[in-house]
């Protein structure tokens, strides 16, 4: 059973639809006690990093998620949820994240339009659990203005090129993340969710 963490940011409808379509048992919770007991966690998220962290803290969820992850519970961060797994973000003048993956979240700079929105290629690196049974390179649907830079290059499980080559899939032991929206990335994204369900 996967527990989707609902901390009041964004719309969970598409993710719920995707899990339902895959017949993956899931629950939605904003209760730290329930989250603490979860077998697996999905941390979704859209919007501003600082506001999301504030909501996580107000719900008493930040600490719980960190404890779960440290205890080995598989966790999948999606989009902003992946960014929250990192140590810090440059967004809004600098914010602290959950620090489950040492690294920084940076803003896209350069000539290309921001946000990075649309279908872009994810190239698999190493043994990416989330990308099992997918081609080495696949298109996924992205919407984001910041990107993750893990300190440890070994944590990079997927790379995407948007002016800069960035980490679009992260994997550090039980802590996993996808910068794109698997729930909107057709069979590639559904396969990623299925892989997580089977981790």
């Amino acid at each position: 059973m996967i527990t989707v963490i609902d901390y009041g940011v964004g719309n969970l409808k598409s993710l719920r639809n995707a899990l339902k379509y895959l017949s993956t048992p899931y629950a939605i919770s904003s209760n730290p006690d329930e989250v603490a007991r979860a077998e697996k966690l999905i941390l979704p998220g859209v919007g501003a990093f600082g506001f999301a962290m504030q909501c996580m803290n107000e719900h008493g969820l930040a600490e719980t998620v960190v404890e779960c992850a440290r205890a080995g519970t598989p966790i999948l961060g999606i989009c902003l949820g992946m960014q929250l797994l990192f140590t810090r973000s440059e967004e809004g003048g600098g914010c602290k994240g959950l620090d489950l993956v040492p690294g920084t979240v940076r803003r896209f700079t350069g000539a290309l339009k921001v946000p990075h929105m649309g279908w872009n290629e994810v190239v698999q690196c190493g043994d990416a659990k989330l990308l099992a049974n997918s081609p080495d390179s696949q298109f996924a649907y992205f919407v984001h203005s910041y990107y993750c830079v893990p300190d440890d290059p070994e944590a990079v499980a997927g790379i995407t090129d948007y002016g800069v080559e960035f980490c679009s899939v992260v994997q550090q032991k039980n802590v996993l993340g996808a910068q794109f929206h698997p729930e909107k990335s057709q069979e590639f994204g559904l396969n990623l969710l299925k892989n997580f369900a089977e981790v």
Partner: protein
């Protein structure tokens, strides 16, 4: 590399697809979900549904439609047509649409753009602008299916809606719409370069080369088309194969 997007557009009225879609292989070509699934399988990158339901009391039918689509469509989709309030927009988004598109309502009440962007994020606010060429180098915004001039100059309006929080512009050339003589490359290119959000070009696509040109000279980020796909003049795969052969990045 970011792919250029191909987006089929479906007109729906009271929850049914209208404008004679010719798919003999579909059980029910009037069913938006059947068509949506067909286009998803064809590798459409997104879908746009324009609700042309005229009667106000039948509008809520679109809410059920969104829910129905969202359960099985796992690519982004946009709902447009007749959205006049933040409450309306919320009803559509909570049911699982990824984006909403504002047109006439944005012209009458530009604050709707900023209200929606603040509440739901710019990424889900598409502003549709319908333009007509009204003189050399001059394009004006029209509403009500191209019948009502607004006096608004197209480039200035595109910049204004972007400043208000539009996350994407759906640019339709009313001169070209249905003509199949090609997208209006001049206005598409001008607006694409005048704003920092993606531009979806619409109106005039009729040949494979039109798609190449709208992404090349037109600098569009996405191209929308209806009848050429609905009548199977081209399949999406043919368009994408052609674009790829011409060096344009697409998702295959």
């Amino acid at each position: 590399m970011l792919a250029k997007r191909i987006i089929p557009c479906l007109d729906v009225k009271e929850g049914r697809v209208v404008k004679g879609v010719q798919f003999e292989d579909l059980r029910d070509a009037g069913d938006p979900l059947e068509l949506a699934k067909y286009y998803v399988a064809e590798r459409a990158d997104e879908l746009v549904f324009l609700d042309i339901t005229a009667s106000k009391d039948k509008r809520p039918i679109v809410y059920d439609l969104v829910e129905y689509l969202a359960g099985e469509v796992f690519i982004p989709f946009t709902i447009g047509g007749g959205l006049t309030s933040v409450e309306h927009i919320r009803e559509i988004l909570v049911r699982g649409a990824d984006k909403i598109s504002l047109n006439t309502a944005a012209v009458h009440n530009p604050n709707l753009i900023s209200d929606a962007a603040k509440r739901f994020g710019s990424q889900c606010v598409v502003v549709a602008i319908d333009v007509k060429n009204v003189g050399p180098g001059r394009w004006e915004i029209f509403t009500h299916g191209g019948s009502k001039p607004t006096g608004l100059e197209a480039v200035a309006w595109a910049q204004k809606v972007t400043a208000l929080g539009a996350g994407e512009i759906l640019l339709t050339s009313m001169d070209r719409d249905g003509s199949k003589i090609g997208y209006d490359l001049e206005i598409t290119s001008t607006i694409s370069q005048a704003v920092n959000v993606p531009v979806i070009a619409s109106g005039g696509g009729g040949e494979l080369s039109h798609f190449r040109d709208v992404f090349g000279q037109g600098h569009a980020d996405a191209a929308l088309a209806a009848s050429i796909f609905h009548f199977k003049q081209f399949r999406i795969k043919e368009v994408k194969d052609y674009l790829r052969e011409n060096g344009i990045p697409v998702r295959v």
